[in-house]
Amino acid sequence: MKLSTNYIVRVLVTGFVVLTLLSIPLFWIRFLCNEILSVWMPREYKYVDIEPTGLLPDNLENDPNIERHSRVYARLDEWEYPHLGIIEYFESTSPGESRSCLILSSSEKDWAYFDNKSGHFVFRYVETKIMPDSDKLEREVQYYIGPEGISEIPDKTLGRFIEPIVDSSEFKTSLWKSGRIILYDKKLRSFFAINFEDRNITKSRQLLKDDPRRPIDIGILNKNDDILDLYWMLPKVKTSENNQVRTLYSRERFGSIIKEGDPDYRPDKYLLVLDESGRIDLLDKETLEFAGSAGRLPTPATLFPADKNATPDDLLAYRILPMALKEDRKYRGLFAAAVNREGTALALSVFDANGVLIRSDHTGERDYRGRRGTLSSRAVLFSFPGAPAITIGRFLLENLHPPILSLASYFTADSFEAGSGHRALLLLPNSFIAMKGRDARDDNIVVDNIVVRFLYALLLMSPSIVLAILLAWRVGKDAAFIGFSRKTRRWWLLGTIAFGLVGYITYRLTRPKITLVTCANCGKPRRPDTGICHRCGSKWDVPELVPPTWRVIDG
């Protein structure tokens, strides 16, 4: 039986519907598995600390009365796992987020946004001036800011920003109105400093075309910070009063705790700049020039080791905390924590003021002496009660996915941003096969390694391939049974092998609904809508009807 265009359209359309509707429940089951895993994960897989931090001066860190050294810790919080699209959408419209042009909305009257059409920032706020007679004069002002200047009326001469990123750390207080706000435009490749008090804008040198630096964020460097906590603590010192241990705050000896978001913390000299390669640089706030490296994003462990540095897109979450003491405000280094794509491993690093890595640690199993064993990215799959069942369940679920899409996930594994992988429906960037696709070694130019990696990936897909072949065999058998032509059967076989369960369901839904009748010649079922039996080629005979032999037909 030949195919009509109608039938082909019907198959394609039904296939798409089936693919969409099947992907959704599979997504939810995978999501459930991940959530259960996230909740059941032992504490040591979600928590890592470093003590001492190594950034405090020796006189503070090595005080003879010290009880506990300074400490930095990072924790993965399972209760806030906002990777569903609806939450992401909701959050992305908040000020400063990726899809929001709103950069500030601290009150009804203080707000700012970036107008894509004009390429200007629009700042509206209440300006307070102290008059000579000590009276306060408040007025609402609105400024339009472009790369060439600031004006109270929109003006083309202000120029156009194209793809700006703003240091929003200054917006934590209202002091920005009398200070400077620094921003970087990705397309213009320059830094800008907006001075509201003087109503001017300072521009840095444009980064050259061949300059490898590609800043993607400045100021507060966070991603999905609500699933990742990062804190550091001063040392605990025994005091002379009653021999009690407590943290001593003294203007003479210690600064008060300085951490991100602290209103007292002013990064006087430097601003952190995150590059798309994962490197963190220091920017001199006065000169708007790079002032050296501050470190880089830590690379959390993955299931299949990848000997390459993590980039921001590779990480589900990260948090960078610069460190300074209040007494001198001198930049002393930074703490950086990062979570891998799958959310199963956390890495913590400490970099000194010169950007040199001085301490690092990863989540993983610990023995009774606190020594680290298997890294959490591996341990999470099998090492605690319930984990094997979830892992196997997840593995089997991934193998229900169409093989062709699993294969595509392997080849596109690096193309997806980490967070979006948790919302993926058709391609699965967080599947085992995609993880294997990201398994990159320094010697990856060796062909053998690529081939071995691919074969391993096929091994991971083997249940899916076996299922697809089984289903294709059934489809082929049925297609022959109902009299599809050889060409049509071949297409169905290929389609079912490529799409697995989706292909099989599509076939069942689009299969012609015909009741076969027994051929009087060969005795096998044949289609009543074909002129000859598709098995023996004989013409029609309807033995159950016995019409008379005579006819009275005119003409």
């Binding site: 359309v13 569903l84 609806i86 042009c101 707000w111 107008d115």
Partner: protein
């Protein structure tokens, strides 16, 4: 064509009246919400509100599609009309236009009202207007897709399993909004899905004996 559309509206007045009532209620709620909060608090409402509105509309219009087709099969309306000077294409098109009209009656006044209210209460920040457009487009597409599923489910009249299956599929499809949000990618998926559902509905209607 107009006669057929009028006939559909006349035969299912409850859905149109229901759309008007629903739209009015939602407009009232929107006004109350916008008036009762500062505009900076409104980002907390956009997605939950969009999801709730989508959920209500999806089930209502799945029901409309199912009832339209079930009534048609039970009363053999298409069988009668197709003998007249009307093609089957037009009969189906009239049903779909009537359904589309009901969906637009529910959504458009709400969209217009929300847009006007945003212009009045909120500074001219593009993100809110873009959000309104995205949420309403997403809601429209998913409602339309579930309406087509309802048409297919209702066509198998007299049998409960297809309706239950249709309802389950509607619930599954609705969770697509939770998975993807109202991002642009969902518009692509929903548009393709809606077109696919439409073609399937068309084929089902055209190939079934009346």
């Amino acid at each position: 064509m107009l006669t057929l559309i009028k006939r559909e509206i006349h035969d299912h007045p409850l859905f149109f009246i229901g759309s008007v009532i629903l739209s009015t209620v939602l407009i009232g709620l929107s006004i109350a919400t916008l008036k009762g909060h500062y505009w900076i608090e409104l980002t907390a409402f956009d997605s939950p509100a969009g999801t709730i509105v989508s959920t209500i509309l999806v089930f209502v219009f799945f029901g409309m599609g199912a009832v339209q087709m079930d009534t048609d099969r039970t009363r053999k309306i298409s069988a009668f009309i197709s003998i007249l000077s009307v093609s089957r294409n037009r009969i189906l098109l009239a049903k779909i236009i009537a359904g589309l009209l009901a969906i637009l009656i529910a959504l458009v006044p709400l969209a217009v009202t929300v847009t006007i209210l945003l212009r009045i209460h909120i500074p001219p920040i593009p993100v809110f207007h873009v959000m309104v457009l995205e949420i309403f487009s997403g809601t429209f597409l998913i409602t339309l897709a579930c309406y087509f599923i309802g048409l297919q489910a209702g066509w198998n009249s007299g049998r409960l399993p297809p309706v239950i299956i249709g309802l389950i599929l509607t619930c599954i499809l609705l969770t697509l909004i939770i998975i993807k949000g109202f991002m642009p990618e969902i518009m692509i998926i929903l548009t393709l899905f809606t077109v696919a559902s439409l073609i399937r509905t068309w084929h089902l209607f055209m190939s079934t004996p009346l």
